[in-house]
Amino acid sequence: MARTRDESSPLFAGNAAGTLRLIVYLALAMVLMVLDQRNGWLWRVRYSAAAVVEPAYRLAGLPAAGVRTLSVAFADRQRLTEQNQRLRENLLLANTKLNRMASVAEQNQRLKQLLDTQHSLDLHVQLARVIGIDMGAYRYRITLNLGARDGVKLGQPVIDAHGVMGQVREVLPTTSMVMLVTDPEHAIPVVIERSGLRTVAYGSRSGDELTLPNLPLAADVRVGDRLLTSGLGGRFPPGFPVGDILAVAPAATGMFLVAQARPAADIDRSADVLLLHDQAEPDGPPSPATPVGPPRDLAPGKGAVAADPLRASRTATKPMVAAARPGTPR
């Protein structure tokens, strides 16, 4: 393949035309680059060229895809089994975590509702956890994780986000027992929100509803009426939801109406409850007004001064006596 030396391939020197062509092409490339960088109309060219380019990519990608297919085809059985095992474990773990997350989210929701109750009513409350449930024969009680050391007192009302749950019946040093409103031994003075009728709601033997056994025959009670605490009896503060009337029917004796109500609180679902610290006003006669006598400087002599402390102590003890006998349910 010997070649004759000609003009187009000089041994040492280039020709001017070749250099000129190079310069033209280089300039063209530069212009193209600048246009492309400045985001001019060149994107249209690229766009239309994409139709040609795309199959080229596919073609170029074939070897890589082939290698991947081969590696899957020849991957040994043990490794696949191992991988499968690991993935299974991971899945199990992830599912467990997911479930826990769901329960935590639910708890969060409940706590938020409780907090809302606390804020909206501006109550002085204490959050407590339910740590035990006693659903024995006709006993519907729960145990809370707070006791005398935490300031729990006998008779404190217990509420949740939706309504009244019950009252503290027994206080131990670190725990306390709450009698639920659905306990057959429990009674709570209520008022029907719509009509203002006062009555008493008792627990029931089934433990999931309230009974109002002695409504007058002419009483205005309908299904769906809401029951609120009336505040009478001095144990529960007034205005808390207690339940909704489910059914109204004449009693077997025909002398009263008997209504069934569903408790408003989530009796069997709550895990966190609130202990109310603002006790209702103690009932009984109002404390006597401090006697207003004539001004002290008008009092004759020393005897009046000696009588004053006596009178003051009497007025102070009267409310204490009243507070010492709060109304007991039933």
């Binding site: 070649r3 041994l11 490339a29 193209l32 680059m33 060149l42 380019v53 990519y57 170029a60």
Partner: protein
């Protein structure tokens, strides 16, 4: 099919194959070692056949490579034009170099190409490439003897110019 058209298709085929090799996705570790295939094949043809490779062809191949690569349009056209120009200018001498000298010359050309690319990139405002960016020309030069012998051998077997 005449021998002439066969040789033309062979020529076009090698160029297309070089472009495909350039696009071939490699694992990240191997990516810096990928030689600049279109330049190698264009070099081979510019040394081996006297009139097929021109500046215009180099420009066209470069534009195609730019389109395929999705880089700035005209970048590879510029590089390949410069490369082919130098190769054509010293063609008569390069052709008759022994293979190791030719390899060194190819290394110089590829390094020059990288430097040109570096200029373009810096002008366009990108930062300096990492050190392993400079490995590619050496790989290309190391592959050159094999590529040259392979293509020559295939050409002889196919009895085409």
């Amino acid at each position: 099919m005449s021998r002439h058209s066969l040789s033309r298709w062979w020529f076009i085929g090698t160029l297309a194959f070089a472009l495909m090799l350039m696009l071939l996705p490699l694992p990240d570790v191997l990516e810096p070692f990928k030689p600049y295939w279109p330049a190698l094949v264009l070099l081979y043809w510019s040394l081996e056949s006297d009139d097929r490779v021109t500046l215009g062809l180099a420009f066209a191949v470069g534009l195609t490579a730019d389109l395929l690569n999705g880089l700035v349009l005209g970048e590879q056209a510029l590089r390949l034009c410069a490369l082919v120009f130098i190769a054509l200018r010293f063609r008569a001498r390069l052709r008759f170099f022994p293979i190791w000298q030719q390899t060194l010359a190819v290394l110089a050309l590829l390094l020059n190409d990288r430097i040109l690319l570096l200029f373009v990139r810096i002008l366009a405002g990108s930062s300096l490439p990492p050190v392993n960016w400079w490995i590619s020309p050496f790989v290309g030069a190391a592959l050159w003897p094999f590529l040259f012998l392979l293509l020559d051998d295939l050409r002889a077997r196919l009895r085409i110019q």
